[in-house]
């Protein structure tokens, strides 16, 4: 019995180490090699570079809090859009804290008492790094953007429309970084 057990232990340890080598080192390193060779942009985070500076990633969201930009959703990642601390709020449906937060955000957005705010605009995403808004949430902000930037509303509305993506079997959405960069390029009225 002692002998069989020793043999069984040896088999287990050798197999564990060999598999760890194959699956824990060779597999991810080979994939890193192929990924870097075939799809270098995506493999390194789909970064957006402007004038030599990295200004974000097309995939991951960043905070937009200023009046001049289409605002991003509330975020529970760290102090907001923290790329090292992805998280949702984890507040449940009967949470008083959730109701309070939504009430305050609604008040800051609402332009008139009757206007209906799209739900994604005042709810925190699952990751805290949501890169998108629903088209409704973007359109909702058009009047404010037009006013602050002194642009005609139809132009801003057309810009949003041009940035709406409607993937097959997916939800329509607007990538905020792309939209806000396009907004900056739109320039002054005229």
């Amino acid at each position: 019995m002692g002998k069989t057990l020793t043999a069984a232990l040896r088999s287990a340890i050798v197999m564990a180490l060999l598999f760890a080598l194959l699956l824990g080192l060779i597999y991810p390193l080979v994939l890193t090699g192929f990924g870097q060779m075939l799809f270098p942009a995506q493999a390194n985070g789909s970064l957006v570079v402007e004038q030599g500076r990295v200004i974000g990633s097309t995939v991951v969201g960043q905070a937009f809090v200023s009046e001049r930009y289409f605002r991003s959703r509330p975020s529970a990642a760290g102090k907001g859009y923290d790329g090292l601390a992805s998280s949702g709020s984890n507040l449940g449906p009967t949470s008083a804290a959730l109701a309070e937060r939504v009430r305050a955000d609604l008040a800051s957005y609402r332009t008139s008492p009757g206007s209906l705010v799209p739900p994604d605009l005042v709810t925190a995403s699952a990751s805290g790094l949501d890169p998108d808004l629903s088209p409704e949430a973007a359109f909702y902000q058009v009047p404010r953007i037009a006013r602050v930037r002194s642009l005609p509303e139809p132009r801003v509305r057309a810009l949003v429309e041009a940035n709406v993506r409607r993937p097959l079997l997916g939800e329509p959405h607007v990538n905020l970084l792309a939209l806000n960069r396009a907004l900056d390029r739109l320039g002054p009225a005229g």
Partner: protein, 567 residues
């Protein structure tokens, strides 16, 4: 609910049904140890591994030997990962210079990944080095999945073989599943993920100056290689804290669909492999039919509730779907579908925060796990768990109508039924016992983030997820404490191996039996009557056991929610 949401759900199921036969055929070839086209490439690796470890793959094992080898192998992996996590600070590939994990966190994490649970008490991007992710965790994603499928093969052999003492060779099964199925699929799958925007680099993080001029640091790493096997092996342990909700893990509707498909595909295929193994493919389809019906029922409830939204927020003047804890690119449909898939299949990856689901939308994932993760289920674990229920179902049917309890040509006797009950009893004992303990101790009550009934749901969900080896969470619970790390670690271990050992004993006992040809006295186990009976047994067992707990948690929460009461 929208037409588009339902189209997604139906397309999803249709793709899986189309994949069931080919995947089943491939699994069956591995079950039989037949040569596949991949042997030309990887055969030398397989043989070299056996030679180095002194294993004779042709030497068959009885159920006890099979269990012992499986356990020793898994303990060896557990120790390896515990050591890597503890020593993280001293090891290479640690660009962010993270320190070693505390003993309770390292224990919890090592158990978590060994048992295919992948409960995360840690936040990946803020705790683990690239080496820990790859060498400590990714290996378990493969090998716990391979272990699960190997065990399912042993159970299949119990039904398929007649008057033999053996149920297969553990190392041969696990090695073939890894080399000829999991690894090659993951290489292709991970490359597709990279092309879609999932990072794969050895760099740790990158600094960004945002459009508004703020600083943001984005965590990066070898994400895609872990993501692929995390889904295919129904592991669910994310590279990042937010798991498949994180845009780097799951950047688009397309990757989301791929991820959901890859959670279910092997579970669907295994039902077909079972049918082939017992020589009657209709047996596999009957099991799959029961699973898919339960799955669609759960999906309908969850999607309906999430699309209907939260009355508390409606009262504030925010109508529409419940978007708290959801990503815009997934919306209500793909979030609810993912939640049901991941909890039906013992995966535990999440693309939305279940804690923020509506009360009944969150009840569905919870109840899925409490049914024993047999609705498709984890790779291997789903089908062997389901077969335990099939044994109970023929037994109950035998009592009701006086038929001889038989299943796929094997007489089911007292020993098998006792062992099946023993395995199934683990779930309520540990879930309810530990939840009760946490609900009356200061250390347990310190955990929940939410107040009221929802706080209790968080505790119940945690222990359910651990015992069922799921790994998803009502993540508001602060679980990274010695109390929860320890208790959840024990729950995961018991939930995995205390079910496996009686299950293997059943396999051994069945393999030794003579075959009994189906006669006029046997209950047919293929038609709608049988499917209904299976569903009934699963729901009654799960319902009776857990309804009181659910009433205290999500159901009370729902009643408060529709009245607009907050805590």
């Amino acid at each position: 609910m929208t037409a588009q949401g339902w189209i997604l759900i139906l397309v999803f199921v249709a793709i899986l049904l189309a994949l069931t036969r080919p995947v089943g055929a491939w699994l069956f070839a591995l079950y039989e140890g037949r040569r596949t086209p991949l042997h030309a490439l990887l055969g030398p690796v397989e043989r070299a591994y056996y030679r180095a470890a002194g294993i004779d793959p042709a030497k068959e094992q009885g159920w006890r030997a099979y269990a012992v080898h499986m356990l020793i192998f898994n303990v060896a992996l557990l120790v390896l990962t515990y050591a890597v996590l503890r020593a993280q600070a001293l090891l290479p590939l640690n660009p962010q210079g993270f320190g070693g994990l505390s003993p309770d966190l390292a224990f919890n994490t090592a158990v978590s990944f060994t048992t295919n649970t992948n409960w995360q008490s840690y936040g990946g991007e803020s705790t683990l080095s690239n080496l820990s992710q790859m060498f400590g965790l990714t290996i378990h994603n493969f090998l716990s999945a391979a272990t699960g499928i190997a065990l399912a093969f042993a159970m299949f052999r119990g039904f398929a073989r007649k008057e033999t003492k053996t149920v297969g060779n553990f190392y041969a099964d696990a090695t073939r599943i890894t080399l000829y199925l999991l690894l090659p699929v993951c290489i292709v799958y991970a490359l597709v993920l990279i092309a879609c925007g999932v990072p794969q680099t050895l760099d740790g993080a990158i600094d960004v100056t945002t459009l508004e001029g703020a600083r943001q640091t984005l965590a990066l790493g070898p994400v895609a290689s872990q993501e692929a096997i995390k889904m295919l092996g129904t592991n669910g342990g994310g590279f990042f804290n937010a798991n498949s909700a994180h845009p780097f893990e799951n950047p688009s509707a397309f990757t989301n669909l791929l991820q959901m498909l890859s959670i279910f595909v092997l579970g669907f295929g295994l039902t077909s492999a079972f049918g082939r193994a017992v020589g009657d493919r209709r047996q596999g389809w009957a099991i799959l039919a029961a699973m898919v019906l339960l799955f669609l029922a759960g999906t309908t409830v969850a999607y309906w509730q999430e699309a209907a939204g939260n009355p508390v927020l409606h009262q504030l003047g925010l109508p529409g779907a419940n978007m708290e804890g959801k990503e815009v690119r997934f919306g209500a449909a793909a979030s609810a579908l993912f939640a049901v898939v991941t909890t039906a299949a013992s995966c535990g990856a999440v693309n939305a925060m279940h804690d923020s689901f509506t009360a009944l939308g969150g009840l569905v994932p919870l109840f899925n796990m409490q049914l024993g993760e047999v609705v498709i289920g984890g790779v291997g674990a789903g089908i062997y768990g389901f077969l335990l229920f099939a044994i109970l179902a023929v037994f109950v049917a035998g009592l009701m109508v006086g038929r001889t309890p038989e299943y796929v040509g094997k007489k089911i006797e007292a020993r098998e039924v006792k062992l099946a009950v023993l395995a199934i009893a683990v779930l309520p004992l540990v879930i309810l016992g530990f939840t009760a303990l946490a609900s009356v101790t200061a250390a347990g009550l310190a955990g929940p983030l939410n107040k009221g009934a929802h706080g209790f749901s968080e505790i119940l969900y945690a222990f359910t997820s651990a015992v069922a080896n799921n790994g998803s969470a009502f993540a508001g619970l602060t679980a990274n404490t010695p109390f929860y790390n320890g208790l959840l670690g024990v729950a995961m271990w018991v939930g995995r191996f205390f079910i496996i050992v009686p299950m293997l004993a059943i396999a051994g006992s069945l393999a030794a039996k003579k075959g009994v040809p189906a006669g006029p006295g046997s209950l047919p186990t293929t038609g709608p009557l049988w499917v209904g009976l299976l569903i009934g047994i699963i729901l009654i067992l799960g319902g009776l056991t857990f309804l009181p707990g659910l009433a205290l948690g999500p159901i009370a929460d729902h009643l408060a929610m529709i009245r607009g009461q907050t805590f």
